[in-house]
């Protein structure tokens, strides 16, 4: 299983480099390099298979039940890209070590870079489309971090955000495209998709799917009209640009075109969309590039142009064009990465990247100048360098396509024109920077960079030369392997010779070289013209306008919905829910009433329901008298408990009853610290509106209930009823579900309860509220807060109540009862003591730490689960057995009892914690320890 390791190694390296950078910068660089080398070490042993024309596929079962595997694929194309990613990655790691200054945090940079490397490897080694997409998004995210590395600079933040917005939006489109493609092909696995090209192309959903996939590819590869993010991403540190914006990230879109080439290509839609976009991008990029004054800006637009060139080749769609495309991917990565690094060196050693100021550097850094010159010549397509070979193939393909498809003269003319501009901007890069007079106003005297900073550039430039002079001996094997993977079929005859005779392509090359020199010589009037008009043509303007519009719309909508009024917002939410629900009702056309037999109504139930409805309406109508409303609410809760009794839910009835008592005590306590009356609302209109909304919501709820209750249904209840005794050892199915079948859910639920209790405790910790001395009618509260009769009665009741609680707990597994109910009963019994005797008195006699009690309960519940895990069963498997004791007789013990005991402790702890601390707010009940805390003393002094 070494393919996953190839992807994981850089990820480990990211963490390692981040940690080690705390120790030393060199160590971080070594860690990053070691991770890259380790990844290569996992990759290379597998390389034999792709070179032999095979494909390595490795799988890890992920969700076998859903048919989802983590699947990895290594074929020629994947291998080529993986080698580019790791090889250039290694050089960038070395380069960055010297490029970033002492103030920049190197660990952070390496961490981002290696995460990006891992994501990129994930894309090129994915067998599953969804998996590919996840890594695709990860590259967008890590590129966001890399572009925004100098996050204190505004341009870095803007550039990062723009890159993320554009590529992220493309990723969304790509997701849609992949889902469609998976549906059409019947699988998300590339092995299947690559073989079902005919079926995919004939499918009616092919055009929309193609457009969505291409949107993803074009945004990532900076194709027109999405190209504008790339120049703005030049705010990234130059090592990141050399990596992301020449060799890897922007090639991901091209990789996708190559990857899906056998499935998607060969239709007019493909040819026109991909070829057309590529053609426009090629021309536009080359043209704009010439006018950039920023070195990196020139390189960025040149990259756009070259990416357009590759896209155009894939758009032409002949096998030979695809081979040329793959070849240019390799060549562009080598010469462009070295040029970016050279630009970084110039920026680093001269303090500026502006070609109007950086001139005549040949005197100061001839060695770097020579390297840049070779790379630049490769970019221009000068013979004996790699760029010449692939450009020659490109010209030949463009000419061939034009003749074959009777496109006339414009395609060869257009690509030659792009070639002219490419030569001109390459010339400008060299002539403006290294010659053309003297430097203008540089902050420092330029000099050659440190020795090791030049090594990566040298390595890449040597590759440009070697491939350019001995193509068949150097690049041919990997090119053949990658092209075979792209075509998924036999390779066309291709000849990587330098001399092909006097072909049209040679003439086109010659015209480009000569024309480029002429254009560069006549650049002054061109520049003047450009400076006057070009600003209006920026695609970025459109993006800014769109983004501004989106923000304005969102701002307006938020301002309209949310005026800072909870009432209004809540009304909008409830109203929207009602509208959507009503639309569902109306749209379905199903009758409201189903065909299930109904239960007869008896008089007692009818009366109870009437009483409940009257109490509820009364509470709503009299809500300004808060005490009355609260009492009516309690009455409603009691009738709800009765409803549970009536409809065969004894456990629910017991729970509701216990909760109701505790809740009313809680609300009464809280009410003491709040105003006793609600002031009248001034405006009548909103109140009427709220009433209408409430009636509509109630009507909707009633209609929904009616519609469901009159229909028959299927339930999973049968399983639980059948397995309750044999599987869980208990007759009370509700309790067995809670502590056994769905014990994990219950564990989550008591955790919520514990958190709520602790949250309440935290909020009350520093709270100071003084309740009134008088009741609502102006009578003073009795000074005797703990009447003797109640205290005496409460003490008598306590043992009895605790006994009941223990009884309810113990019987819970077989009869109605259990941890929740027993816990609530015990809490109620203890609260009576607090009410009757005061907090301080009770605290002295019950000196438990309630937070610890909650923790103990949670641990008990979790440990039961872990014990079964330790014994080799799934989490929370329960065991039970029958035991015999003298006198008592036979009885049953289940491990679920321990779990239920945990539930019990959490319920007691949380309930008491909430109520006791709320009660302790009263000035007569404040706990002595609280008053002595330093914060309180400080408050008192103030």
């Amino acid at each position: 299983m070494s393919l996953p390791s190839v992807i994981l190694m850089p990820l480990f390296g990211a963490a390692l480099a981040a940690v080690l950078s705390q120790v030393s910068r060199a160590l971080a660089a070594w860690a990053a390099a070691a991770a890259t080398l380790a990844s290569l070490a996992f990759l290379l042993p597998l390389a034999r298979e792709p070179f032999a024309g095979g494909t390595v596929i490795q799988r890890l079962a992920w969700l076998p039940s859903a048919g989802l595997d983590l699947a990895f694929r290594l074929d020629g194309l994947g291998l080529l890209f993986a080698l580019l990613i790791l090889g250039i990655g290694l050089l960038v790691v070395l380069y960055a070590r010297y490029y970033l200054s002492e103030q920049d945090r190197l660990g952070r940079f390496y961490a981002y870079l290696l995460v990006f490397m891992s994501a990129m490897l994930g894309i090129v080694l994915a067998e599953n489309l969804i998996q590919l997409l996840i890594f695709w998004e990860l590259t967008s995210l890590s590129s966001f971090l890399l572009v925004g590395y100098w996050y204190r600079r505004e341009e870095a933040r803007n550039g990062a955000r723009m890159a993320l917005t554009v590529t992220g939006a493309g990723g969304l489109a790509l997701l849609g495209g992949f889902l469609l493609l998976g549906q059409i092909a019947g699988s998300y696995e590339l092995s299947v998709i690559l073989k079902s090209g005919d079926a995919v192309r004939a499918h009616p959903l092919y055009p929309p799917m193609l457009v969505l996939v291409l949107l993803g590819a074009f945004t990532k590869s900076a194709q027109f009209p999405f190209h504008f993010w790339l120049p703005n991403a030049m705010a990234a540190p130059t090592p990141a640009s050399a990596y992301l914006h020449s060799a890897t990230m922007v090639k991901a879109g091209i990789f996708l075109l190559a990857r899906l080439f056998p499935t998607l290509s060969g239709t007019p839609e493909w040819a026109w969309l991909v070829g057309g976009t590529g053609f426009v991008t090629l021309l536009l990029g080359a043209f704009i590039s010439l006018f950039q004054h920023d070195l990196k800006g020139l390189l960025a637009y040149s990259t756009i142009s070259h990416l357009g060139l590759i896209a155009l080749l894939f758009g032409i769609g002949t096998p030979l064009a695809a081979v040329a495309g793959v070849f240019h991917i390799i060549n562009h990565a080598t010469f462009k990465a070295s040029l970016f690094m050279a630009a970084g060196v110039i920026d680093h050693e001269a303090g500026s990247r502006d070609m109007r100021r950086v001139n005549g550097l040949w005197k100061y850094m001839p060695y770097t100048g020579a390297l840049a010159m070779v790379a630049s010549a490769a970019m221009a397509g000068v013979p004996l360098l790699n760029g010449f070979l692939s450009k020659e193939m490109f010209f030949a393909e463009a000419f061939g396509a034009a003749t074959q498809l009777h496109l006339g003269w414009w395609l060869p003319a257009g690509v030659t024109l792009a070639g002219v501009f490419a030569v001109a901007y390459s010339l400008r890069f060299i002539h403006d920077v290294f010659f053309n007079g003297e430097p203008v106003g540089l902050s420092k005297t330029p000099h050659e960079p440190p020795r090791w900073m030049k090594v990566p550039i040298e390595a890449l430039v040597v590759m440009c030369l070697l491939v350019g002079v001995f193509p068949a001996q150097t690049v041919e094997p990997i090119l053949a392997a990658a092209s075979a993977a792209v075509l998924q079929g036999p390779l066309p005859d291709h000849d990587l010779a330098i001399w092909h005779g006097f072909s049209p392509a040679l003439w086109m090359s010659a015209i480009a070289l000569l024309g480029g020199a002429l254009v560069y010589m006549g650049r002054r009037p061109l520049f003047a013209w450009h400076d006057r008009y070009a600003d209006r043509l920026e695609a970025r303007r459109l993006y800014d306008a769109l983004l501004g519009g989106a923000f304005a719309l969102a701002g307006w909508l938020t301002g309209w919905l949310d005026t800072g009024s909870l009432q209004r917002l809540l009304a909008v939410v409830i109203g929207s829910a009602l509208l959507l629900g009503a639309a569902g009702f109306v749209g379905s056309g199903a009758p409201l009433t189903g065909g299930r037999a109904l239960l007869p109504v008896d008089a007692v139930s009818g009366l109870a329901a009437l009483g409940l409805m009257a109490a509820a309406v009364g509470a709503a109508a009299l809500h300004r008298q808060r005490l009355i409303a609260l009492i009516l609410t309690g009455a409603v809760g009691l009738v709800v408990a009765l409803a549970f009794v009536k409809f065969s839910a004894p456990d629910l009835a017991l729970t509701q009853l216990a909760v109701e008592m505790v809740a009313v005590v809680l609300l009464l306590l809280a009410l003491y610290f709040l105003p006793q009356h609600t002031p009248a609302e001034t405006a009548a209109l909103p109140r009427v509106g709220h009433m209408a909304l409430a009636v509509a919501a109630g009507g909707g709820a009633a209609a929904l209930t009616w519609a469901v209750l009159t229909r028959p249904y299927d339930s999973i209840a049968g399983y639980f009823l059948a397995n309750s005794i044999p599987g869980g050892g208990g007759a009370n199915v509700v309790n067995v579900i809670l502590v056994d079948f769905r014990g994990f859910d219950t564990l989550g639920e008591i955790s919520v309860l514990a958190l709520a209790g602790l949250g309440v405790y935290a909020m009350l910790e520093r709270l100071r509220l003084d309740g009134p001395d008088h009741d609502a009618e102006g009578r003073p509260w009795d000074a005797d807060v703990h009447p003797a009769i109640m205290a005496a009665l409460g003490r008598l009741l306590l043992p009895l109540a605790l006994l009941v609680s223990a009884f309810v707990f113990l019987r819970g597994h077989n009869w109605p009862g259990g941890g929740f109910i027993a816990g609530l009963i015990a809490a109620a019994a203890l609260i009576v003591q607090y009410l009757a005797n005061g907090v301080a008195w009770s605290r002295e006699r019950l000196p438990w730490n309630l937070q610890r009690l909650i923790g103990l309960g949670l641990s008990a519940a979790a440990l039961t689960g872990l014990t079964s895990l330790a014994l080799g069963y799934p989490f929370l498997t329960s065991a039970f057995g029958h035991f015999r004791w003298p006198v008592v007789g036979e009885f049953e013990l289940a491990s679920a009892m321990v779990f239920d005991g945990g539930v019990y402790l959490v319920v007691v702890g949380a309930t008491l914690l909430i109520l006791v601390h709320l009660g302790a707010l009263h000035r007569l009940e404040r706990l002595p320890s609280r008053a002595k805390s330093p914060a309180d003393t400080a408050k008192a002094v103030r």
Partner: protein, 109 residues
């Protein structure tokens, strides 16, 4: 009987919504309590109504009510209580910090 339960749930939901839309914290908490009654009853009723058939395994039982919604609602009742407690304490805290009990924390003239 089904109609009666539907009416009860409707009335509880209506009162809950009306109270939740009030401008002061205490009625809002009461409204949330009403809404949780309505929701608990609704979820419970999803197992359909049956009389005299508690889901406790017994030899003489004529049938069993659906235990799944019951188990769901049991924990919902307890958590509903915890949430009520949390919200009411939040209301107390707001009153202490802001000096009034308006849901938007406004000082009114």
């Amino acid at each position: 009987m089904e109609l009666l339960i539907a009416l009860v749930i409707g009335v509880l939901a209506a009162c809950g919504v009306y109270l939740a839309l009030r401008a002061r914290t205490f009625p809002v908490v009461l409204g949330l309590t009403f809404l949780s009654y309505a929701v608990n009853l609704f979820l419970f009723a999803m197992g359909r109504l049956s009389v005299g058939q508690p889901p406790v395994i017994a030899a003489k039982a004529s049938g069993y009510a659906d235990p799944v919604p019951q188990a769901l609602v049991l924990t919902a009742i307890v958590i509903g209580f915890a949430m009520t407690a949390f919200v009411i304490v939040l209301a107390l805290k707001a009153r202490a910090e802001l000096g009034n009990d308006h849901v938007d924390g406004k000082h009114e003239p």
